[in-house]
Amino acid sequence: MARKSFRQAVNEAISQEMARDPRVIVMGEDIAGGMGAPGEDDAWGGPLGVTKGLMPQFGRERVLDTPITESGFIGAAAGAALTGLRPIADLMFVDFMGVCFDQIFNQAAKFKYMFGGKARTPLVIRTMYGAGFRAASQHSQCLYPLFTHVPGLKVVIPSSPYEAKGLMIAAIRDDDPVIFFEHKMLYDVEDEVPDEPYTLPFGEANLTREGEDLTIVALGRMVTLANEAADRLGGQGISCTVIDPRTTSPLDIETILEEVRATGRLVVVDEASPRCNMATDISAQVAERAFEALRAPIRMVSPPHTPVPFSPALEDLYVPDVEKIIQAARTAMAAGGRKAA
């Protein structure tokens, strides 16, 4: 076991699965890089270097650079998955779903159902998301709620390097189409990551903190912030449970309900735009099924309903931070009735 970055964890997961299963291939723009160019092979290994080294290890036949043609290669990945490969397609920035969404939500997501159960579509689409990179409105969004909305897709949002490796291996071995979200700001975060292959289950939330007063649900990069907020709140006498759902489809709503019933208070932290995001979805489900357990209104910590701004001065205001989570937690604690004896 060694400390590995999120980037290394994803790379190692893919590499180990490619070594284990010859049907696993990767494809995407600049996934190796330098295709047809006079300079180095494997020049990039993906725009942020996540797939660096795979091409020299597995060859051009299994590490395929594509033209900039998201509809073309995401669709090809879906067709390849339908016919016996286990492709990992790199959609680079999730913002680019705009030019290939049909191939994901009308094709890959629905093969199994509309073909009467006969299809298997073992497809992984890796994609970067999230603000904080000064990448402005078209390279910073958190569009996982859109994918979560579509039946037939699984949506994975790992929060740490350990989680990333286990969830990626599970995604590759899964027989359904999986959208795998990688937060750009997490790539250099390090963690203890086992060298051996392992899997983390989809639809099983992880409790990163256990407390008694308040439940915080957070996704992806927000889990780190929620943990920090919980630790600081703990020092101030507010003990928090932090839930990382790991996957939004399937969503482990049962664990969330269980914790809300135990604490009576809920804060949901979601970096996605506030309308119809995971925070509203989780809040609605809790309100429907555990209303009687709530002792205070649910608080949602999300960005404002604007595109992601470019200027650091604005982007830093835009993204949820530890202070905003603490503030929401305090509001939740101050409101409503006391805990029943």
Binding site: M1, G166, P194, D195, E196, Y198, T199, L200, P201, L207
Partner: protein
């Protein structure tokens, strides 16, 4: 200041760098005997009692419960009754001024993987190269970290090797077979790969049975709640360990191991879950359980083996063991030294590390 003794944050395990006082067992001014627990020390892995190094009274609690401090930090002061408050203040000030926390991780030995004929075996080695070899063999679902309290104590006198059995920890997840004899062959393969001749063997639970199967190649045997001496085994534990997926389920399962379940830390639970998620582990655990505990009972008796062996042998049992009953220590051959620890569960090597170390040194003739 001759009568003043410093209580410092102990290093419980080779990798421990910090810890906190979970609770003080003695109030300021209260008398305390050497070896009596003066505080509970909590690390991220486990909580353990801290035995007073001296007899006297606890004069100061320097560190409040719940505050994380580096190993070596002064946490309290014991006095034989001769010092006044000014002397104690000066003692504390001097200790604190002189204290430098150990550089993190600098001196922590790391486990390594050794290639053997049955695949890679992970081992954590500690102790002088020239000392007699001593091999620590964990139990079902365990790993070399089970020895984190005991190994440092033994490493002062032995060249210790804490290994991960096949199917466990960082070793190969491909079993050479699931029964005691197959696992013993795996340990023998490791000893050959490292060129280790006859060694003192310390085995826990399933690892105790493995050690017993290796008796002819041993210098001494220390068996902690070993398997193989009776039919009973707590299948709620075995099956629960295999089935548990979530932290709370696993916490409840691991609680069966200890007389005081509060000892189990979050990191221990998480560590076990992480191990169980590795490729091949589920199959390995099921195979071991099937080979040894089919139909809910231990199906191999090593009592005859125990009666036949010639090396000094120690059998240790916690009287509150809920995994394998302490009654399995009854009616053993007279040549076997039997020690029973009160208020101790299945994990004497963690629950009674210091006492156990003394008994092991004794049986090994050290």
């Amino acid at each position: 200041m001759a009568g003043l003794r410093a209580l410092v944050m102990p290093k419980m395990g080779l990798a421990m760098t910090e810890g906190m006082v979970a609770a003080w067992r003695k109030a300021p001014g209260e008398p305390v005997a050497a070896g009596e627990d003066v505080a509970d020390i909590e690390t991220s892995k486990i909580t353990a009692g801290y035995e007073s190094p001296a007899t006297g009274s606890l004069r100061r609690q320097v560190v409040k419960p719940g505050v994380m401090v580096p190993v070596g930090t002064l946490i309290g002061v014991i006095d034989d009754g001769t010092a006044d408050d000014a002397e104690i203040d000066a003692f504390i000030a001097a200790r604190q001024a002189a204290f430098v926390p150990a550089a993190e991780a600098a001196s922590v030995p790391a486990p390594v993987r050794v290639a053997t004929e049955i695949g890679p075996v992970q081992v954590l080695e500690a102790g002088p190269q020239e000392a007699a070899p001593l091999v620590l063999i964990h139990g079902f679902g365990g790993d070399l970290n089970n020895w984190l309290f005991l190994q440092p104590l033994l490493a002062a006198r032995f060249r210790t090797f804490a290994i991960d059995l096949p199917g466990h920890g960082g070793s190969t997840k491909t079993l050479p077979g699931g029964n005691f004899a197959a696992l013993a062959r795996a340990v023998a393969a490791f000893l050959r790969a490292r060129g280790i001749g006859p060694a003192h063997l310390v085995g826990h639970s399933l690892g105790g049975a493995v050690a017993l199967a290796l008796a002819p190649q041993s210098l001494s045997l220390s068996l902690i709640s070993p398997a193989g001496l009776g039919a009973e085994i707590n299948m709620d534990y075995i099956s629960g360990f295999i089935a548990a997926r979530r932290a709370r389920e696993m916490q409840a399962v691991l609680a069966m191991l200890f007389a005081d379940p509060a000892l189990i830390g979050r990191d221990m639970v998480e560590g076990v879950l992480r191990y169980k998620r590795l490729d091949g582990v589920a199959a390995a655990l099921q195979a071991i359980a099937a080979a040894n505990f089919a139909n809910g009972r231990q199906n191999t008796s090593l009592r005859a083996t125990l009666a036949a062996i010639r090396v000094p042998t120690l059998v240790v049992w916690g009287e509150a063991d809920r995994i394998i009953p302490a009654a399995h220590a009854d009616a053993l051959p007279a040549s076997v030294r039997v020690v029973r620890f009160p208020e101790t569960g299945h994990m004497a090597q963690m629950e009674r590390a210091a006492d156990l170390a003394r008994h092991i040194l004794d049986i090994a003739g050290m």
